[in-house]
Amino acid sequence: MSLAVSAIGQGLLWAVLGVGLFLTFRILDFADMTVEGTFPLGAATAVAAISNGMNPLLATLLAFAIGAIAGLITGLLYTKGHIPILLAGILVMTACYSVNLRIMGRANVSLLGKATLFKNHFLASLPQYFDSVVLGVLVMVVITTIVIYFLQTEVGQGFIATGDNQTMARSLGINTDNMKIMGLMVSNGLIAFGGALVAQNNGYADVNMGIGIIVIALASIIIGEVAFGDLTLNQRLVAVTLGSILYRFVLLLVLKLGFSANDLNLISSIILAICMMLPVFKHVLNFKHILKRGLDTND
């Protein structure tokens, strides 16, 4: 039971990353590698700020702002510097590694004995693991609502059009460069925000905690899509959170099967690869046909 609650809590906290990446991966339609740097950047910022006595909530918001700055740099390299997005992301991600070490002063900083978002009276009074569930639900409801509202505004529609058809967007007077920069800023801000949450939940920040982040964030997006099928844009955003929770359950299962935590990156990649290849498998194996035949013989 407590394992399930823990999985739900983790899924909710990590879902922030899925929603953040959704803005670039699904709406702007490119893979932004910056997130591998901005996740630990957010963690490092929050941990360093809290260690220096900052209020945990302010520290978490500061992490968002710093992440957005990293996104701004990627966006400028991409749109104004004409560096391909994949490389622009990798450049900023690599640079973040050094910045993170500067911020923390060493590779791993603990929050032991320090205040965090999880240590207020109300959350601390809950049964084990329920603190991350309650905070996660709160965070995801607020973030998802804001993102859905934004996408339905005039600017948000221009943002979607930019990812959908750049030529058309420009011919309607939409400044596509600004839209891409804005998307990268908000996306990386959210990822850093997620990094700050996870660091406070774990009780430490580690300079290597960004490895494989893009796979985890993608997994919540793709698993949500595979599990729930045809959805509207708004529903898909909600499905990201559910996908993130499902992904945690899959990991739980894998650990139960006897794999160690060190195998998780390998397993995450395999899960994601399989999910992304499902449409191909469906075609090759012709699931529906086989199912139908199975039903026919029953008649």
Binding site: F150, T153, Q157, I160, D164, M168, R170, S171, L172
Partner: protein
């Protein structure tokens, strides 16, 4: 009526600048477009027709010369800024619409062409009734598909939608780049009729590239031929009405 709306003065545009492959596409081109002109643009491949549109639209920077809108120099304005007065329909049906957005969403986007987009709700539902009426005028079932993603429309429907989007907010200048060329003959003709109707009724100033001599003669009040990056033939009014395909063919034979 004969007030100059857009003037191109000695416009030079080169590609592959400062390389051995440098080519001059527009070579000291002069063209005055008057308010209310419906100009059909002819010319062989490589004559500079699409480049002319891209120079007017701002996609390509001109090397020298001037582009004036109502006397104001717009040569260095960005693509986004020029959309305040300019609308375009491309040849490729895929270029004119956002495939994952619905027909209604595309129309709503087009309605704010060139205007500031605000951080306020888009209010799509309020417009649906009006969009329904508007798309009914296209007679191709578009009105039944307002909530369909445009990626699922036929090429003809997409082009009709692109045209509708370009004229939804009245442009000062409308550029049609062979917008019926990718369609089957019947659909192409339907869209052409519709184009003509709307250009006439809204008194739009319009440039239309076409390879279809019949269309070039039938539609518009003025016809120009581009050749080696210059306007080599420019005929309007009664002279254009008197023009025949034979005369055009013999002219083309002459300049080649």
């Amino acid at each position: 009526m004969t007030k100059p709306l857009l003037e191109l003065k000695n416009v030079v545009l080169k590609v592959n600048r400062n390389t051995p492959e440098e080519i001059t596409i527009l070579d000291h081109l002069n063209l005055t477009i008057n308010d209310g002109d419906f100009i059909t643009v002819l010319g062989s491949n490589g004559a500079g027709k699409s480049t002319l549109f891209n120079a007017i639209g701002g996609d390509l920077n001109i090397d020298s010369g001037q582009i004036l809108l109502n006397g104001r120099d717009i040569s260095h304005e960005s693509v986004e800024r020029r959309t305040r007065f300019l609308a375009r329909v491309f040849q490729d049906p895929k270029l004119g619409t956002a495939p994952r957005m619905t027909v209604a969403e595309n129309l709503l986007l087009a309605e704010r062409r060139g205007q500031h987009r605000r951080l306020v709700p888009r209010q799509l539902n309020k417009q649906l009734e009006r969009y329904k009426e508007l798309t009914t005028t296209m007679h191709d079932g578009l009105d039944q598909r307002l909530t369909t993603a445009t990626g699922n429309l036929s090429g003809g429907q997409r082009q009709a939608l692109s045209f509708l989007m370009a004229t939804l907010k009245r442009p000062d200048i409308l550029l049609l780049d062979e917008h019926t060329a990718a369609l089957d003959p019947q659909t192409s003709q339907d869209l052409m009729h519709l184009t003509n109707e709307r250009v006439q009724s809204e008194r739009l100033t319009c440039l239309m590239i076409t390879h279809h001599l019949e269309d070039a003669l039938t539609y518009g009040n003025r016809l120009i031929v581009l050749h080696h990056g210059q306007v080599s033939y420019d005929v309007a009014g009664a002279d254009k009405t008197a023009l025949t395909t034979e005369k055009l063919y013999s002219f083309f034979a002459e300049i080649e």
